[in-house]
């Protein structure tokens, strides 16, 4: 028997995961595992060109091939007013192209057939005549005089500019720069990458012709919001739409948006009257669904004569692809990028951002990130290391001298964020000690004398997660609360349903633990369900590390509501006054006589059998939690690298990560999240890249080109923690899913730049590949 069975499973216990049982046996229930009677299969024809006018689409040969039930084109979708759909950023996106294709891989037509082999055979037989147009592949190209107009169908759109957005105080920042002793500039490109969960996206749409009910099984991180969007797009009454997210094989932001494939499959099922399955292949996933980053950033940091940071100025150009469909809170055009002052007490800052259309896939999603925090954190942490190197200061000391101090919390940043809590020096010290920083510095010097190329990188990030308080945070007007509904059965077992959706984060365990802590029912007795919009309470979903901060809080709150009712029932059973009862996890007892007690199980039974006069039966409730503020996890990461002068290869020798995510509900799961994030951060820093040639051909549309780290390349991580509870979260928790991806890329790159700094090399953009390192070294005359 595993020890887990005998544990209560309260907060702070590393109980083993409840959800493991089915996955270990190969009995997970992922989208592609679902087969419905008479189900059809869909294959999508995509554009091979980045920018082209569609002259004709000939489906006649395809339509008469064996097994083919229908061929859906943009024209057909247009007849049903479904050729275009709204995006999460108040733009529109083509479902199936009618006029032009605007990126390589864009959806042009779809075949519905009896088998997937037949669907693919027929797709090959569709003939599309294109007139190729010049392609725009960067913001620079988008701005250029005479650049082709990508969104020519949009009324009033005369160029490729999407938005201009500012934050902070321009005049004050200008003044501070005028007085600066030193200004350090970094221009860096955070390239396009992709969340690439191991399971691709997909759906099975089942519109019942008799009842009109549309049941859509879908790999969605946010099923409720999707239901609402579907209702708005299709005009179907919302009670007739049921979205079910089955087990999800990783999301990392990729499974937040609504993709054209979902809409086409649903429309096809509606038209044909049979279920339609669409499962992306990997290349479709990488080439057309939500990418991340693609930010061109220039940062200036002003420093005074004492090494104090005095001002920060940032401009960024955002490459949004062909449609502005960033998945982010609607008020913020560049997400939460204005957290860019990071962990530092910088008196003033000014940020400007411009977004551009390009002939690239749309859908800037937060790849394991809270809405562009990753880009912000990368910029400030790279800039701070460069400033230290340029000023001849120690990277760690320079940070330490400029941190927001523990006594300054709650701290209002120059761009208006109210940091709830933090102790940055403490996390830094734990990291440096774990690393043996002082010794290592000496070792680096000694190795350099022998001609070795080696360095240490540090990043001390601050995250902003748990979106978010309804006054500021909404998606298409839907306030970003989340929910939990708790039912305690007569035998004292419970069912918890939530508006979030796990993609591997272990919600079935973590949220049961919150109930175990707050209501005293052992975690093993609490079943957790998510993802079915017909049964779960409305919520905005799981992304941006918001589940624990928001839905976790909702779970605590609903548990407490039930506890209040339980107290009244216990008082009735014990014939005592409410206020004479004491709560100890799992039972109420009469003050001073601990043997006069009722367990939560006894109370639950009484809730259905023996109630106080006039009390409503049952023990259940629901809570919608609108957080008062964001939470601000932080930490310090430190990396040691060795560089091969001959080939430019970088080897990560050590990686130390100290995280403070407040109270840890299940430390084992928290550490697992950190390991995963550090690995994705490693991938982003060194290998993951989606890029385009000048014609807009995508390079990185399969796993031979889009490189993901294996166990062999991935460093061994050394993990540490500090705990600074969030003062406003009912459990003191802050959320941790993304800290490691946010914080680690800069740490890795800073280590490489530190190693190369003796040669005067100050920047290499990610991914830091061996050829770029080689070129930098050779440009300074360093060779083997």
């Amino acid at each position: 028997m595993s020890a887990t069975m005998h544990m209560h499973g309260g907060i702070g216990e590393s109980i083993k995961r409840k959800e493991d049982a089915r996955f270990l046996r190969g009995k997970g229930n992922y989208i592609d595992d679902l087969t419905l009677p008479s189900m059809l299969h869909m294959a999508i024809l995509r554009s091979p060109h980045a920018h082209a006018r569609i002259k004709s689409v000939d489906t006649s040969a395809a339509g008469s091939m064996p097994g083919v039930i229908a061929v859906v084109t943009g024209e057909l979708m247009a007849q049903h007013k479904l050729a275009w759909m709204p995006t999460l950023s108040y733009d529109t996106q083509a479902v199936l192209a009618t006029d032009k294709v605007r990126f390589q891989g864009q959806e042009v037509a779809a075949v519905i057939a009896e088998t997937k082999y037949q669907a693919e055979d027929a797709r090959d037989a569709i003939v599309v005549d294109y007139e190729i147009l010049p392609a725009v592949t960067s913001p620079e190209g988008a701005k250029a005089a005479g650049a082709p107009l990508i969104r020519d169908e949009k009324e009033g759109q005369k160029d490729n500019h999407i938005y201009h957005w500012e934050s902070g105080d321009k005049a004050k920042t200008q003044a501070a720069f005028a007085n600066a002793a030193k200004v350090v500039r970094l221009h860096t490109f955070y390239p396009r990458c992709h969340p690439a969960p191991l399971e691709t996206c997909g759906c099975v749409a089942d519109v019942n012709p008799a009842t009109g009910k549309a049941t859509i099984y879908m790999t969605s991180q946010a099923p409720h919001a999707i239901r609402t969007v579907f209702a708005l797009v299709t005009g179907l009454p919302e009670q007739n739409i049921r979205v079910i997210s089955p087990d999800i094989g990783g999301g990392f932001g990729n499974k937040v948006p609504v993709y054209p494939g979902y809409v086409v499959a649903t429309a096809a099922s509606l038209l044909i009257g049979r279920p339609v399955k669409w499962i992306e292949d990997r290349s479709e996933n990488l080439i057309s669904t939500g990418f991340a980053r693609d930010y061109h950033m220039t940062g200036d940091l002003a420093v005074d004569a004492n090494g104090k940071m005095t001002a920060l100025r940032v401009h960024l150009d955002s490459d949004n692809g062909a449609f502005f469909s960033d998945a982010q809170p609607s008020k913020f055009k560049a997400g939460l990028f204005h957290i860019v002052t990071g962990s530092y007490d910088i008196p003033t800052a000014h940020i400007t951002a411009d977004g551009y259309y390009t002939n690239k896939a749309p859908g800037g999603v937060a790849y394991r990130c809270s809405f562009r925090v990753t880009e912000a954190s990368y910029l400030i942490e790279r800039l701070v290391t460069n400033a230290a190197l340029e000023l001849g200061l120690d990277q760690a000391e320079f940070r330490m001298n400029n941190f927001v101090k523990p006594e300054q919390f709650p701290y209002t940043s120059a761009t208006g964020w109210i940091y709830d809590s933090g102790d940055y020096p403490k996390a830094m010290n734990v990291a440096l000690e774990k690393l043996g920083y002082d010794e290592l510095r000496k070792d680096v010097e000694a190795r350099r004398k022998k001609g070795e190329v080696t360095g240490i990188g540090i990043a001390s990030f601050t995250e902003v997660v748990g979106a978010g308080h309804g006054a500021d945070f909404d998606i298409l007007g839907l306030r970003m609360f989340d929910s939990a509904e708790l039912r305690v059965h007569p035998t004292g077992k419970a069912l918890l349903r939530m508006g979030t959706k796990s993609q591997g984060q272990g919600h079935e365990t973590t949220f049961a633990q919150i109930v175990a802590e707050e209501l005293g029912i052992p975690a093993s007795d609490v079943a957790v369900e998510e993802g079915d919009t017909d049964t779960a309470p409305y919520g905005l979903g799981t992304y941006a590390s918001r589940s624990t901060p928001v839905a976790g809080a909702a779970t605590a709150m609903v548990s407490r509501k039930l506890r209040d009712k339980a107290r009244m029932i216990a008082a009735h059973l014990l014939e005592a006054a409410d206020e004479d009862l004491e709560w100890e996890r799992g039972k109420f007892y009469v003050k001073g006589s601990p043997d006069r007690a009722k367990t939560i199980q006894e109370i639950a039974f009484a809730a259905y059998t023996n109630l106080p006069e006039g009390m409503e039966a049952g023990l259940e409730g629901v809570h919608y939690y609108d957080p008062p503020n964001m939470t601000y996890p932080f930490g310090t990461y430190a990396v040691v690298v060795d560089v091969d002068k001959g080939t430019g290869q970088v080897k990560v020798r050590r990686m130390v990560a100290v995280d403070d995510c407040g109270v840890r509900i299940n430390p084992m799961i928290v550490e697992g999240q950190i390991h995963g994030g550090l690995t994705e951060g490693f991938g982003i820093a060194f290998m993951e890249l989606i890029t385009f040639d000048s014609e807009g051909n995508c390079i990185g549309s399969n796993f031979m080109d889009y490189l993901l780290p294996t166990a062999w390349e991935t460093p061994k991580f050394e993990i540490g923690e500090t705990v600074t509870p969030s003062p406003h979260h009912p459990l003191g928790a802050k959320g941790v899913g993304e800290s490691a991806t946010v914080g680690s890329p800069a740490a890795y790159v800073n280590a490489v730049i530190d190693a190369l700094s003796p040669y005067g090399i100050t920047n290499i953009d990610m991914p830091v590949t061996s050829d770029k390192v080689w070129a930098a070294l050779r440009s300074k005359g360093v060779t083997e």
Binding site: P48, D124, E284, I287, G646, M687, D771, W774
Partner: protein, 300 residues
Amino acid sequence: MWGFLGGQAMFPAAFDYLAPTTLGEALDILAERGDDAKVMAGGQSLIPLLKLRFAQPALVLDIGRLPKLNVVSRHDGRLIIGALVRHVDVERDRTLADNAPIMAEAAHWIADPLVRNRGTLVGSVCHADPAGDWGAVMLALNAELVAKSKAGERVIAAAEFFKDPFTTALKPNEIVTEIRIPIPPGQAGGAYNKLERKVGDFATVAVAVQVEMNGRKVTRAGIGLTSVGPTNIKATEAEKALAGQELTDETIREAARLAASAADPKDDIRGSAAYKKDVVRVFVQRGLHTALGRAQEKRT
């Protein structure tokens, strides 16, 4: 670089499939249908191509059930590697470890452990991917291929085998049944250096180096290059420059320079042509130093 796959098929187009159990039968089938057939050994290159419909043969001829082709043996001063010997077999084989340690070293870095459980050395050579590792090793070791057809048998030197990317001297009616590697007399050593971006990636650059020594002098040097031209390249000038010489820093540097100028790489996502040439230089130097050390160890 695989390029644009978005919306390519994931399932092969239809084909006929035959899996004969004698070589005679297999050669008969090829004699008749060779022109629109594809031979399949481990399928680790062919099946990916079929799935993407880059290859759409009418017939797949699976040679996986032919007898006696999955053995490594030693015969007549040569190592014989049958057509069904897989990468993993090469990695573990004692005969090869004793006589040509470069083989296990190269095998180790091919693809990933699962692909190595299926893919064959001979299949890899026949596939003639300029980024394939075995071609370079075979060039360095002066290997020969034995090709059989209904008409008979011919022996093709590795140096004559590679014509263009994915194109060889093989005829559509031929099957390669084995590869033969001459066992070097006396002291010899080799090394395979590969630069890859991650496990499962093809080489950015790789270099196979083999030296055969008599005392301090090189009697024969073999240098094969991966991923730096339209085929695997034999760096003949560099080989010649080493023959009869002692391996000093100077001769090694010169050989490395000559090998780098034999390379003809292209700029791509993995790096510039200049980068790849320079890595050839670095790897020839490193490889010769290692090979020399190994040859000296083997002074028996």
